[in-house]
């Protein structure tokens, strides 16, 4: 076996090893980012749910009725005379 061939084989094996490690690290990193994104997406979904619930509370027919009743009971403001 010539020296050049030996160097090539060692170089090739080292490159494969480094490549494997790199791919492994990349896979882990991508997985971690993916999980983070899933958690973030869930979080955004929950924020949306919170806002929807707050809106539902505002649209509660009982509260609307109370507002209408209060509006009807309150004395009407005098309107400024039209020009």
């Amino acid at each position: 076996m010539s020296r050049a061939r030996l160097i090539f084989i060692i170089f090739f094996l080292t490159a494969v090893l480094i490549g494997t490690v790199h791919l492994r690290v990349s896979a882990s990193r991508v997985f971690f980012r993916c999980r983070k994104a899933i958690v973030e997406q869930d979080n955004l979904r929950l924020q949306l749910g919170r806002k929807q619930l707050a809106l539902e509370e505002l649209l509660n027919p009982s509260i609307i009725s109370e507002h209408i009743k209060k509006g009807a009971d309150a004395p009407h403001e005098e309107r400024p005379a039209g020009r």
Binding site: A27, S28, F31, F32, R35, N43, L46, Q47, G49, R50, Q52, L53, E56, E57, L59, N60, P61, S62, I64, S65
Partner: protein, 574 residues
């Protein structure tokens, strides 16, 4: 030569060394593989449990309808005092949390000092998104954020008795919260979902770098349910009922609005009600759904049912004139309400004037067996099957326990106990021409993928409990006349022809009826030709001393009118 020997010896040594290493490798990788894999497993893996999101409860508007109950996560900040080594750490954390959450640093230090051995000390519940991000950015090692589901009831007390509430589960294999009342309890199996488990491969910092899909099972969120309840009609019913209860200083009240053609309940109010989010602080009496759990003596609202049964069996003709003993039936000790005195009355007049004696005589014409069978046929003495927990069957004694008076008492609603749900179901049967219906509050189920499955609840309109012409005559002639000329004139509607029956039932106290406590009720529907909705209203113990009246016609009929006016207008314009 020596060198050659040395090389051979060296090679042999290497072979032996590598042989030993190979054997050791084989021993570790094959013979002891399971042992070391088990030892290493916890260090290489992390486990998390995922609580499922409990299904939502929506009103009749469907997927885009109003949300009556839904779960959402709240974030809780906690600290682990076990990993705070020195007081410097505590002070540093306290200062950071004071800035982010606004909590007092000294109080935080005291709290940590008191719970030095604890691994979880709750600091603040329900933090905002900005606070969460600030805590994460601060990278405080002893501080963590935990998420947990919380159940919200945006309609508050409005739909409390329908939706119910959830509470802590005693079963550790089940999700944290289980339904304890209302639809939450009845539909627990659909709503709860299934808990998930994730197994992650982790690096030395315990950051997840892979998912063990073989050993992981994702959580399955609960299905949502769509109710037949319309929040707007519910509000009409609740506000009208509550106004009258307050005006008459009454003890309690029930209002139910139902579609008579399929038994769908559009509104159900049982007052007193409660806030489902604070049920644990509520008096147990307020938690009782009186619409299904409280049987009462119905009084005169029971009369049309017995009259319809007698007409249906041919034991009575519409033209028959019954002598009403001029106000007092001495043999059976029965008087008329408010001291009225009637001579001969037809069935229609008996119902219009609400004659007790006339009904007692109809009962006698029927006899014990026919009366019992008819009442049973209309579903009394047995649960209606409504999909709400805690339904009472009411009380209908078997004929062997009847006294000689019973056959004259049941026809005007004494010696029998019924629930509001049983009464409205019976009137729905009259309204739809005699077909049985099953009252229900759930219309459809939405699975976690969003597929909507309508539940088949159609009434069997081909099978009738009584003849169609009898049911139609009772509604269109007799009960319409009650509203036009009889005791129910306060129930008359402007745009539609209403029909119905009033009831003013004595409440027995210590085994005797008194003259102070009554249940004022009205049940009926509109329009008379093709009834769109039937409504039941009962107000228990209106304050007679106010001098404003206490009868069904005076107290309950106006509530019926208000609910019907608003509901029919709403349904027309929707």
């Amino acid at each position: 030569m020596t060198t050659q020997r040395f090389i051979i010896a060296f090679h042999l040594l290497m072979v032996v060394v590598f042989g030993l290493l190979g054997w050791r490798l084989f021993y570790l990788q094959h013979c002891r593989a399971d042992h070391y894999a088990n030892e290493a497993y916890p260090a290489l893996h992390a486990f998390t449990q995922e609580e499922p999101q409990r299904g939502r409860i929506l009103d009749s508007g469907g997927v885009h309808g109003r949300v009556l109950a839904a779960s959402n996560k709240i974030q809780t900040v906690y600290v682990d005092p076990g990993i705070m080594g020195h007081w410097d750490d505590v002070m540093q954390t306290a200062a950071a949390l004071q800035e982010i959450l606004g909590i007092d640093a000294m109080e935080f230090c005291d709290l940590v000092a008191q719970r030095r051995t604890h691994r979880f000390v709750k600091i603040k519940e329900g933090i905002t998104e900005a606070e969460r991000e600030a805590i994460l950015a601060a990278r405080l090692r002893p501080v963590g954020i935990q998420s947990e589901w919380r159940r919200y009831y945006p309609m508050g007390a409005l739909t409390s008795h329908i939706v119910g509430f959830v509470g802590g589960s005693a079963d550790i294999d089940e999700p944290d919260r289980v339904g304890l009342a209302g639809a939450e309890q009845q539909y627990e199996a659909l709503l709860k979902g299934a808990r998930g488990k994730y197994v992650f491969l982790v690096d030395k910092r315990r950051y997840p770098i892979g998912l063990d899909t073989q050993k992981s099972t994702p959580a399955r969120d609960g299905s949502s349910i769509i109710l037949t309840i319309d929040s707007t009609i519910q509000e009409f019913a609740r506000s009208s009922l509550l106004k009258q209860i307050q005006a008459y200083q009454a003890e309690s009240g029930v209002a139910i609005v139902m579609n008579p053609w399929n038994g769908a309940i559009l509104a159900l109010v049982s007052w007193p009600d409660f806030d489902p989010a604070a049920f644990s602080k509520t008096d147990a009496d307020r938690l009782r759904n009186r619409a299904v759990a409280d049987p009462f003596e119905p009084g005169s609202i029971f009369k049309p049912i017995v009259a319809a049964a007698a007409l249906d069996r041919g034991l009575l003709q519409k033209t028959d004139r019954i002598f009403c003993e001029n106000g007092y039936y001495e043999k059976y000790r029965i008087g008329e309400w408010a001291g009225h005195q009637f001579g001969y009355l037809t069935v229609k007049e008996i119902l219009t004037e609400s004659s007790n004696i006339g009904m007692a005589k109809i009962g006698q014409k029927m006899g014990q067996k026919a009366l019992y069978d008819a009442v049973r046929l209309f579903g009394f003495g047995q649960p209606t099957g409504v999909d709400l927990p805690g339904e009472d069957a009411g009380i209908l004694a078997p004929t062997r326990n009847w006294s000689s008076f019973t056959v004259t008492r049941i026809p005007y609603g004494h010696e029998i106990s019924v629930t509001p749900m049983q009464i409205i179901r019976a009137f729905a049967i009259l309204a739809n021409g005699g077909s049985p219906v099953t009252p229900h509050i759930v219309r459809a189920v939405v699975d976690d993928a969003g597929n909507v499955t309508e539940l088949s609840r159609k009434s069997n309109l081909a099978g009738r409990l009584i003849k169609q012409e009898v049911a139609e005559w009772i509604v269109r002639e007799a009960l319409t006349n009650v509203v036009k000329e009889g005791t129910g004139q306060e129930a008359a509607l402007e745009k539609w022809q209403a029909w119905g029956k009033t009831g003013t039932a004595n409440i027995a106290t210590n085994g005797r009826y008194d003259t102070v406590n009554y249940t004022a009720s009205f049940v009926g529907g509109a329009p008379a030709d093709v009834p769109q909705v039937v409504t039941f209203v009962a107000i228990r113990k209106p304050n007679k001393a106010l001098g404003k009246g206490y009868s069904g016609g005076r107290v309950a009929a106006p509530v019926f009118r208000e609910i019907m006016e608003k509901t029919l207008t709403y349904l027309e314009k929707r």
